[in-house]
Symmetry: C2
Subunit: 406 residues, 2 copies
């Protein structure tokens, strides 16, 4: 059975890489810290005698051979990058849970009929290189290689140059071929399981998202000598808009969420009226028709307020994906494992995007959620109890056992 102490010690060791003084982790994709995390992961794969490959997007695979080496592998894993001042569980848990499951499998003398692969995908968060889930999107046909390589961070550094710099630009032939199935354990990053005191979420699908960039242009002027009634202040307009987007999303009551996470003014000094204001918008909805309608409504709302305030306005969608539904067969498999283990579970939709979202396009996919205390994630306070983690990994382990020896 699962060795939770071993898992815990690996989790805490990994959390030191990029660890913050308030118990969180800052380990952005392709940073020096993430490079160090990759090396530690590979060391652990080696200790398990797994064969390591790195593909041309820096995705790392560890392979345990099956009785039939020509069979398609069952794959499991997640990501090692974090947002700035994020938590130690988001992504990392899915990678190290996979290690723990395989190690347990080996210890139990289980010989898989097909190969099993553990994967860590590059830049899941999108915190450094937008959009999110570049590594998994790239190998499943969502993004072209050119597109991924040209993504740039705030300093103007490209995905490709940073991948090269940290020494993880691998070979195209190392991408996976046909995958038999994909399963990802992840923290919920929301409040539902925690508030209902249920340890296991059987994830049926992922909400679709639209990521937008809004640019408002008014007139930059001197803050001291321009009378209030002669201003065209782009930040005042942005403030109205951000507040109205919030009210709009609050009133929807269909699970729509809308978030403005970044904002910037130009010239961006204390004594000039902001001539330009740029901000991001992240909208999610689990229904494809509703999501489309949301984007329309919010674009109308933004343009309406901007017009009212005589501010020029552009709204650009920089990334999006339809809501997805996971494999009914795998959902049922997960439910059966939970029932056999007498573990209460909840079927649910993920509001957060995950690598599984894109894997689902190429193979049978499913996810297991474990609770996030108070629903907190993408923050240093992110937490999940080791008891819940143990339950989650045991479900992952038992499901993998069924999949590798059907």
């Amino acid at each position: 059975t699962i060795n939770i102490e071993r898992l815990k010690s690996r989790m805490l060791k990994m959390a030191q890489i990029g660890g913050t003084d308030r118990g969180g982790v800052s380990r952005l994709a392709l940073s020096d810290q993430e490079k160090e995390a990759r090396a530690l992961f590979i060391q652990w794969l080696n200790e398990l005698n797994m064969e390591v490959r790195v593909d041309d997007f820096g995705n790392i695979y560890g392979r345990l051979e099956g009785k039939d080496p020509n069979a398609s592998p069952v794959m499991t894993g997640s990501h090692l990058d974090t947002v700035p001042k994020g938590g130690k569980f988001d992504g990392t848990l899915g990678v190290l849970a996979a290690l723990e499951a395989i190690e347990t499998m080996k210890e139990s003398g289980i010989e898989p009929a097909c190969p099993v692969e553990i994967v860590s995908f590059t830049n899941e968060e999108g915190a450094r290189f937008a959009p999110q889930m570049l590594g998994s999107g790239a190998i499943t046909g969502k993004f072209s290689k050119e597109y991924v390589y040209q993504r740039t961070d705030q300093k103007g550094l490209t995905f490709q140059s940073e991948l090269e710099r940290i020494g993880y630009l691998g070979e195209e032939r190392n991408r996976p071929g046909k995958i038999a199935s994909f399963i990802e354990l992840h923290i919920e990053q929301g409040p539902i399981l925690d508030s209902e005191k249920i340890a296991i979420g059987v994830v049926e699908g992922i909400a679709g998202f639209s990521w937008m960039e809004i640019k408002l242009a008014g007139q930059s002027d001197h803050s001291g000598s321009t009378p209030m009634n002669m201003r065209r202040d782009s930040l005042v307009a942005a403030s109205s808009i951000i507040h109205e987007i919030y009210n709009w999303a609050m009133s929807k009551k269909d699970g729509t969420v809308a978030t403005v996470g970044t904002i910037r003014t130009v010239p961006g000094i204390i004594n000039a009226i902001p001539g330009e204001t740029m901000f991001s918008l992240d909208i999610r909805n689990s229904d494809p028709v509703q999501l489309k309608e949301c984007v329309k409504e919010v674009t109308r709302l933004i343009n309406h307020i901007a017009r009212e305030k005589q501010i020029e306005c552009t709204v650009d969608e920089i990334a999006s994906n339809q809501p997805i539904h996971f494999s009914p067969f795998l959902i049922e498999t997960l439910e059966n494992v939970c029932k056999e283990s007498q573990l209460p579970y909840k079927k649910m939709i993920s509001g957060a995007g995950h690598d599984s979202m894109y894997l689902n396009q190429v193979t049978d996919t499913v996810m297991i959620f474990v609770p996030s205390t108070d629903g907190k994630s993408h923050c240093e306070e992110e937490h999940t109890s080791w008891e819940d983690i143990e339950k989650g990994i045991s479900v992952l382990y038992k499901t993998l056992c069924k999949l590798v020896n059907p």
Copy 2:
């Protein structure tokens, strides 16, 4: 008389240093560009046989000796630094107008009874090192040397280290002694003269200001998986506050202006609810009692909205100065010059701060304004017609002549 072509050619030459492709200037205090501008200014001072000094804040003085070298100098000038993407007139005009006035004085064979000094003050804008007017504030007792030297820019570089780097850390003994009077020509940076088609503003005083930093703390969470009704979004609160500050200032009708110029979120990524939002606030009023009342009212308003939204909040005043009134004697002198020259003028208050604000604490001071087209300033479109500039410099010249030979 004034040689407007000579002035124009110097203005355009100076505008190339840090010139932007849209006709503006980016020449931040103590940058490489500003270093180059300093060298050109000193070259021109040398060509006029003026004795050049640099003090321990990088303020540059050019001195034309008077018949009585022991008399206190009449001083005139402004600053050469600009905001990012600022204009070519703000500050620079006052420095080069001073050069033009002195050159005209020499050509006219006028021998001043007392010395005349041209000055260019360091970091008037406060765009790189907050607060504004550090160089003039330092030599007039507003700021201590330690305080000025420790100001840091966004990159963490200090005023002192940058002053040293560009080679303008001069000697304390080069600061001016007693100054007989100070006069500064500047663009209005507001719309009044332009809209009333009057070329000359006789500036009676400068509005007081309070610069504040507001910090809001809510809860950072995942943008996709945190339901709308479970959020404590610091940016949504900031948006409300910024909008209400605007409405509050609009409703004052007593000339109060309030501006939020900069804003930043933490973690500052597209898929996290902003846990923290920081923004600046610049409030101005020409009445000291009203200014104090404004700061109180706006602080109450900020705290009220923050409390309502369950967001923690701190409001810090980072710089302030009382409204000031210029020398009645110099105001009258300016008026007399305008009347003798049959130039219509308008007595007015400056909303923008100027080095004259601090010089006024140590000597008789006054300012001359020339119009800003459409009131635009701190932007690349900043403009003043050469006709208006010629009128402004002739008033400066004639006033200087009266002051140096009373």
